[in-house]
Structures are given as C-alpha cells and as structure tokens.
C-alpha cells in the first residue's frame, strides 16, 4: 500500500504540475500572440496613416495643378474674350450713333466668356463629380474639351458603370483631366479617343491621341516628366496601374487600370 500510495502521490503531483505548467505556457503563448497582433495592428495603422498622408499630398498637388489650369484658361479664353468686349465697348462709347452689329458682337463675346467660365467651374467642381457617375463626368469633360475645336473627341463605354469610391473617382478624374490637358498643350493632336471599360473587378480608362508622341524613357528622365511620374504614383496609390505607350510621330496611348475596391 505504501509503495502504491507513494506512486499515486508522485503521479498526482507531477500531473498537476505538468497541467499547471501547460496552462502557464498556454497563457504565455496567448500573450505572445497578442503582442504580435498588437504589433501588426500598429503597423497597419502606420501604413494607413502613410496612405492617407500620401492621398492628401496627392490631392494637394492636384489642386495646385488645377489652379494653374484655371489661371491659364481664364487668361487664355475668358480673359481674351472680356478684353475684346472691353475694347469693343470703348469703341461703342466713342460712336455717337448706336452700332447694333458691334453691340451684338460684344454680347456674343460676353456670352462666350460666361460659357467658358461655367465650363471651367463645372470641370473643377468636386460636387459635380459626386453627383455624376464616372462615365458621365468623363463624357461632360470631353464635351468641354471638344468645344476648344483643337481636336475631335471620340468616346466609347463598355459595360455598366460600377460604384467607385469618391476618393478614387476624384483622383482618377483629375488624372484624366491632366492627360487631356497634356494632349491639349503638347500633343498637337487632331483626334483623341477615350475608352472606358468596366470589367468585373476593375475598370480601364484608355486615352489615345494621334499627336506628335514622345520617347517615354526620355520624358521620364527629364524634369518635365514629373507629371508622368506623379500620374503613376497617384494611380498606384489607389491600387491601380498605368501603361504609357508613345513613339515620336505615332501619338500616345495611355491605359489606366483601377480596381473598384
């Protein structure tokens, strides 16, 4: 009995100790795992903060570029029209008799200036972007561009419009505006084709022109290439990709692939 009792005592004590040690290790493991989880959450938060900072930075940069565009457009179109109207009004002032034709011209010029101002306001308004779906916003922007009569615009859409987050919509729309502005300023194109394709998980925005084209690598290396590099950086910020194909004399083809989520 005594030997058996000793055995039982040893077994009970040992098993209890083993159980307690196992429990302690389990809690230790839980604590370690929790610490790792905490680290992971902190890293995720840091990444999220960086992402938001980059996004904000991009929006600020785009805002800055947009201001430049407004200033240029006001100077080139609205400013010219209003200056002309002013000169015409001075002439009309000097004339004793009322020149109906001149007054009608002044009226037209002021009307055109007002239309241009409205177009500029529309193209800049984020509110308008919120109200429209992406393809509608693109279509309106292209109509505005075509009114410059500098090139002919062709627009096609494949698939049904899908919901795109506001952030993405604004960024991609501003990128597209920048692409169109570049065509307007540098490409000397007379034909621009814009194609929107809504796939299942992503959408493609395709812009091609028949302008002078350029050597992609060269532009990337130059200070002028900042716009292209920004475009690539902003697209990757919203999880998308950009493909730029261009050759001197053969126009430019830019493709943006953006995931919905």
């Amino acid at each position: 009995m005594q030997v058996q009792a000793k055995d039982i005592i040893i077994i009970v004590i040992l098993v209890t100790i083993v159980f307690l040690v196992a429990a302690a290790f389990l809690l230790l493991y839980i604590n370690m795992y929790n610490n790792r989880k905490k680290k992971h959450i902190l890293e995720k938060q840091a990444m999220q903060t960086t992402f938001e900072q980059n996004l904000l930075q991009s929006r600020l940069e785009m805002q800055e570029q947009t201001f430049d565009t407004i200033s240029q457009e006001i100077h080139d179109s609205v400013g010219q029209l209003l200056s002309l109207a002013k000169v015409q009004l001075s002439i009309a002032e000097q004339n004793v008799t009322t020149d109906k034709r001149l007054l009608s011209e002044i009226k037209n010029n002021i009307g055109n200036a007002l239309n241009d101002l409205r177009d500029i306001a529309k193209s800049l308004s984020s509110e308008r972007l919120h109200q429209l779906c992406f393809s509608q916003a693109v279509e309106q922007e292209l109509q505005r561009m075509s009114r410059t009569n500098l090139f002919e615009v062709f627009f096609t859409k494949e698939g049904e419009d899908r919901e795109i987050t506001e952030q993405k919509k604004i960024i991609i729309f501003r990128i597209l505006q920048e692409v169109l502005q570049n065509i307007l300023k540098h490409a000397h194109a007379n034909e621009v084709v814009v194609r929107l394709v809504f796939h299942e998980k992503e959408f493609t925005t395709d812009v091609s022109d028949n302008g002078v084209g350029f050597v992609v690598e060269d532009v990337n290396m130059q200070a002028d290439g900042l716009g292209l590099r920004n475009m690539i950086a902003r697209t990757s910020l919203i999880g998308g990709t950009v493909s730029i194909q261009s050759k001197p004399g053969y126009g430019t083809h830019i493709t943006l692939n953006i995931p919905y989520e």
Binding site: A5, V12, V15, L20, L27, I30, N34, K38, I41
Partner: protein
Amino acid sequence: MAHSIPFPITCVFEFICFLVSVLSLRERNKKDWIRYFPLYLFFVFAFDLYGYIESKFIHAQNNYWLYNCFKLIDGWFCFLILYKISATYYTKKIVYILEMTLGASVFIYEAITIGFSQYFRLTDLTNNVCVIFSSLMYYYYLLKDDEMIKLSVSTPFWIVAGFFFFSFGSITTSLFFKYLADINKQLGIPVRYIIFIAINLILYSCWSYAFICRYKQRT
C-alpha cells in the same frame, strides 16, 4: 494514522482576495459582471470557514453534502462569469445554458446514484472541463478579435486565467480523489489539501491582480 483536519489556509487567500475586491471594486457599474465577486468571495470564505468549524468542532460525520451543494453553485457562478466575460466577443447563450444543464444533470445523477454522503467527483470533473472549455473559447475569441488589448493589465484576462489554472490544476485531484482520500486517511498525507493550497493561491492571486487592474483603470 490519526486523521487530523488542518486549518484551511485557502480561507486566508479567500479573505485577502475578498478584501481586495471590496477595496478595488467600490464604485462598480451596476451592469458590470465584476460586481458579483465581493459577494461570491465572501460566500466562499464563509462557507470554507463553516466547513472547517463543522468538521473540527461539531465533529460531523462528514460534510460532503455541504461541498457537493457548493460545487453546484460554484460551477454555475463560474459559467455565469465566463459567459458575461465572453459576451464582449461572442454571445453564445446556448453554451452557457448547456454547461449549466450539464452540471446540474451530473449533480442530480450523482445525488441519486451515490447519495450526499459521498463526494461528487463527476460533478467536479464536469464543472472543471466546462470551465476549461469556456476559458479556451474566451482565449480563442480574444486572439481572433481585431481590438488591441494590453493583456498584462486586462481584468477579464486575469479572471479567466484564475479559472483556467484552478480547473486545470484540480483535474488530477478529482480523478484520483478516492486514492488521495485513502492516502490521507491511512498515511496522513494531505496531498489534495497541499495541491489545493497551491492552485487556490494561483487563483486568488490572479483574481486579486485582476481587481487591482480594474481599480487602476478606473482611477
């Protein structure tokens, strides 16, 4: 060998833990599960003290009936607390009801088959297994959750840790209960008593620390 009833040192741990709970949980929220603890600890302390006095001075034949009834209430309390703590992560009332029903069923079964003059070993084991299961469920959901928690100062974590250690540690004594009772009777070696001192020390240390954590979070 003479079989003497040693003073239950666990009463001292229980009383200290009770004092800590009273001092730390003074301004507790009425909806907070932790408010049950001072009352429960006082009940456990008074119960253990009464059990000792009864065996030592009233010379009752045995007080297993008292501890058997206590086991049932104790089990229900543990299930309730674990259910309330786990409710932060998941609400599975069915688990709580099943555990309570299982504990009560085994208790009734033992009451019918072996009577109140014997220790309800199976009830004890069932309670322990259920508590371990609920504790592991809590830990599983705690790790699965996305919220960031500092475990070293988390009150629920330490409360469950106390339950977990106690249940894990007392499983062996429940399994070998008969042998240990014989050994105690014949050789006077209170193995179960010694083990219980150790696991009660761990249990009440974890709980006291949990109450202090709650107190520190409040102030």
